[in-house]
Symmetry: C2
Amino acid sequence: MSELRKDPIIDRWVIIATERGKRPTDFVSAASAGEPASCPFCEGNEYMTPPEIYAIRSKDSLANEKGWSTRVVPNKFPALRVEGIVEREGIGMFDKMSGIGAHEIIIETPDHGDILHYRTPKRIAELLETYHKRLIDLKGDNRLLYVMIFKNEGERAGASLTHPHSQIIATPIMPKRVKEEIDGSLAYYDYKMRCIFCDIISEEKRFGSRIVFENISFISFCPFASRFPFEIWLLPKRHMSGYDAMTRQETFELAECLGVTMKRLAVALGEPQYNWMMHLEPNSEVPRNPWPDIKAHYHWHFEIIPKLTRVAGFEWGTGFYINPTAPEDAAEFLRGADIE
Amino acid sequence: MSELRKDPIIDRWVIIATERGKRPTDFVSAASAGEPASCPFCEGNEYMTPPEIYAIRSKDSLANEKGWSTRVVPNKFPALRVEGIVEREGIGMFDKMSGIGAHEIIIETPDHGDILHYRTPKRIAELLETYHKRLIDLKGDNRLLYVMIFKNEGERAGASLTHPHSQIIATPIMPKRVKEEIDGSLAYYDYKMRCIFCDIISEEKRFGSRIVFENISFISFCPFASRFPFEIWLLPKRHMSGYDAMTRQETFELAECLGVTMKRLAVALGEPQYNWMMHLEPNSEVPRNPWPDIKAHYHWHFEIIPKLTRVAGFEWGTGFYINPTAPEDAAEFLRGADIE
């Protein structure tokens, strides 16, 4: 089983995921394992994955057979597992706990070549509904404090298979980066009695120069302090702390905003590889909850980071990023992309 | 001029380094610029760099000519510049400041193919002395709160030139990651009245299983909560908050420890690309100094991270790392490397 270990100096946990099967000698040859001969995520190969947890599929089809449009399965080499109990232990001055959690794969489409920015808003909305269903289900397990939904597109972004897929990892501790963001939103709320994300949306609309796309309910822009060239944030305009609160109409609006934004990125930069992360309200069962007012001060959103530059020693050592492209220039370039 | 911008939610600054000359269209072609036909860092090409700031060179040689063994020059495309004054400004709800700082290149050797782990300890000691000289000089500028010395080895690690070199960036603000580490060491000191790094060294010696190499004055090991496979930390055994305090004898001990550690890594894993970062005591001129006792609770060190895995969406979203190799296994594999 995997284990979670805590850095004693800063509040950073790591997952030592020995089940993912990297032995020291696996790193000696730099050659990557490459794609399997047959793709386990393609329609007709359902038997190659663990049994499905959820799927959007036609009424007359059977689980783990053809006839689906999105399909969720457990990761075959999970970083964390749902079975077992959370055990905590000290070893000398160090702290560890058992690797309880969840690690799921969302297969976004039965068709290997059906990449996201070519899909219709209706198809993207199915993916978003799948995210929503799994989020609600996983939040029912009160051992899991946080559910992270993310997508790695391309090898540089960390994907090992090319078939379009997203992932979910639910963790038994509150991740450091999440805590920092929520604490930041609380500090602002304490000072101003307003949501910082709502204020950022107003400012972005006032400036206009960093906006990539907006519709009635959603907006995407290159943030003022972008860490990376062409970094994009995408937020609901309505104040909403959790993705749980989305209406059906909003899901369609989000599908449009996400689809257009990703298409602009793909057309402008020649289909760059990217990561996207959903920053969502944590499970409400946080022990000794430090955020009783989270519904007031937090605001869920997407962060999208194209893989155009390398993270180097300076960034690793300082947490301070060097971005060679001003977000105003990036947004202008994206708005100019011809996506018809 | 570059500018520094602050993320309004979390305490993270970025450098928008427009002088580094990436226009949006530069990202459209994924092809890298490649090596220049003639290497500006090779002996005989001194005229290709800005004039040198410092060099270790033979007594009868002239500045910016042949005859040097290490050579420090300003970065031709600096992220930050020393000229000017620190100006702070608010734009609506956002904060920015002028990009004052320093960005230098340390050319480690006149010989293009002279990679670090083949060098003798005496040659590595020259590099370490060069680091020391530049650190002392830059700390004399009280606008610069932190001096980061780092090395990017290989393209995956962010290096754009292959000739062996290190870099220094000195910043006008205290980087987030540095602050967190020093705050962590202070919290431990407040609780135990001991240096947390000294305690970690004792624990690592007691366990033994994570040690890579040690001599009289230095120790290297794979840390308990390693973020990456084969991550290595290297520390002085004597409590020492700043690198400024190194003796000549300790510089030789460090050169040996660093040389053997890097050679073990190179032999065991087939010369992986890597970053190393020196985590050093900040400049003492910190405004409203939150660490009056830093000499007691902080302890400088190296962090070395080989580029063997990709950082993906989960890590970006949570600050939580998945490491597929236990540090005990990594250290054992490194100790077994035949470096004779």
